[in-house]
């Protein structure tokens, strides 16, 4: 009798195991064996951080309308309550359209006010994302190339030493080449490095035409739809030429640093940012930022972008 009890107990003990086993069986049958590598999505949420380009592109047949705005100095000599902390002024405004030729290639046109002596800017640009980070780290980085050419429409200056004393059309052009190298380190943190070459066909007397610079930028998610973004550019200038131009201008060159809050609301991304750079164009803020955080010469800026998809869909923007 004792034995029967024992066997029965054993059996009873085994029932849950066998049930468990059966369930595991089903789960084993449908285990996701697809080790298919996936592209890491949303390294950044927008095609730009603040001043810097990101590796993100808009998708095929999408049109992005983007408005960037930089106000006047919040503090410092020209800031304060007198111009309502910079809100009475705008140092630069850029209105641009980008179009997705493919998921990897974007082309764009833009008009910007321009924050240096060179104003009335017309820009044509492209961005080609040629490598995308994968989830299995077989490709650890995303790489994109950004190139732009900008024409200044400002009336040529009579002062032969001025940066806008253009002699012919060619003088009005500046070029920017950037290699954007980004990695999404975790779902909340992405970082990028941007080796940059800016070439200005014409400069103020004594300045260098070509400038190498390196930019760095990052994005840290603080909530599902909000992130802190920051970027910084370090230009490598010829010391003697820099000193000479600074002396002539009675103005020092500073590195552009931006910090901002990125808020995503459905179809568009809203940027609330602060930067010492007055200009929005790469060719200007990298080479000619003369305002300093230390002197209170930082400004509020924002950018609003809205994407429209033309991918065989009746409804307008998403």
């Amino acid at each position: 009798m004792k034995n029967i009890t024992f066997i029965c107990t054993c059996f009873l003990l085994m029932i849950p195991f066998s049930v468990l086993f059966a369930q595991n069986d089903l789960e084993q049958l449908i285990q996701d064996d697809s080790t298919a590598r996936e592209k890491v999505s949303a390294t950044f949420k927008s095609t730009h951080l603040i001043n810097a380009q990101s590796t993100e592109t808009i998708h095929k047949k999408e049109l992005e309308f983007r408005v960037d705005h930089r106000f006047g100095d919040i503090a410092g000599g020209t800031g304060g309550i007198g111009n309502f902390f910079g809100l009475d002024q705008s140092t630069d405004i850029r209105i641009g359209f980008d179009y997705g030729v493919s998921d990897k290639l974007n082309i764009g046109i833009a008009r910007a006010k321009g924050a240096t002596a060179a104003t009335q800017l017309y820009e044509a640009n492209f961005k080609y994302r040629f490598l995308e980070q994968t989830t299995d780290n077989a490709i650890p980085l995303s790489l994109a190339f950004f190139g732009s050419g900008t024409i200044s429409g400002v009336k040529a200056s009579d002062d032969p030493a001025a940066s806008t004393s253009y002699k012919n059309f060619n003088d009005r052009i500046t070029y920017v080449s950037q290699l954007v190298m980004a990695r999404k380190f975790s779902p909340i943190f992405s970082f990028e490095l941007i080796p940059t070459y800016v070439h200005r066909n014409y400069t103020i007397f004594g300045d260098q035409n070509g400038i190498f610079a390196v930019g760095a930028g990052g994005r840290l998610k603080i909530s599902k739809r909000m992130a802190i973004v920051a970027d910084y550019f370090l230009p490598f200038r010829d010391k003697t030429k820099k000193d000479y131009v600074e002396n002539v201008n009675q103005q020092k060159f500073y590195d552009a640093l931006g910090v901002g809050l990125e808020i995503e609301t459905g179809g568009h991304v809203f940027h609330l940012n602060f930067t010492n750079a007055t200009a929005i164009q790469e060719s200007q803020f990298i080479s000619e930022t003369t305002s300093s955080w230390g002197k209170g010469q930082y400004r509020w800026g924002f950018s609003i972008s809205r994407r429209f998809s033309f991918n065989k869909e009746k409804a307008g923007g998403y």
């Binding site: 029967i4 059966a22 089903l26 049958l29 449908i30 697809s34 999505s41 459905g266 998403y318």
Partner: protein, 185 residues
């Protein structure tokens, strides 16, 4: 003596269950899972053709699993938002249904049946009970199942920001279709 009888009975019982199990397991590797959100402003549809499912006819147990990143949309930006903002696929990569078909015995012979399936659906890390009618067709060892049910985004803790509240429906129509083949081991 009694001991031996009990023991052998138990053994036979145990062996026969496993045998039945093996014969009645069905697997589907390319199940279609889609959801549809319709508002006057916008229709949003996501389709995955990579759903995985297993079915045990002897118990009626059914398991359904789909990778959230496998859903495809007409607009790529929707897919990005779906994974990033709504499903949070980094944290919750799969949506899963574990349930039981009621009265699985009638599925032993060929034919088309209307069955009820009850179980738990885990989406966005939130598990909820569901009961839905399923149309099951058994034909020479292969099984076709189709099911339509509704899911409220709020039930699974998926927040829709007020700015797009008119673009995304509160209740989504979910469609599931799978073709199962017998799993031979």
């Amino acid at each position: 003596m009694i001991q031996k009888i009990v023991l052998s009975l138990l053994l036979i019982g145990a062996l026969s269950t496993t045998a039945v199990n093996a014969q009645n397991t069905f697997v589907s590797n390319g199940a279609t899972v889609s959801f549809f959100s319709s508002t006057p402003l916008e229709d949003i549809e996501g389709i995955s053709k990579n759903g995985l499912s297993a079915l045990d006819l002897s118990t009626g147990a059914i398991l359904f699993k789909v990778k959230n990143t496998s859903f495809q949309f007409k607009k790529k930006l929707m897919q990005e938002h779906f994974n990033e903002n709504y499903m949070e696929s980094d944290q919750f990569p799969f949506s899963e249904f574990k349930g039981k078909i009621e009265n699985p015995d009638k599925l032993k012979s060929d034919g088309t049946y209307q069955c009820m399936v009850a179980g738990t659906l885990t989406v966005h890390g939130v598990t909820k009970n569901y009961t839905a009618p399923v149309k099951i067709t058994v034909n020479k060892g292969s099984i076709t199942a189709a099911c339509t049910f509704k899911v409220k985004t709020a039930d699974h803790g998926i927040e829709v920001p007020t700015i797009v509240i008119k673009n995304i429906a509160e209740t989504l129509d979910i469609k599931v279709a799978a073709i199962y083949n017998a799993k031979t081991r």
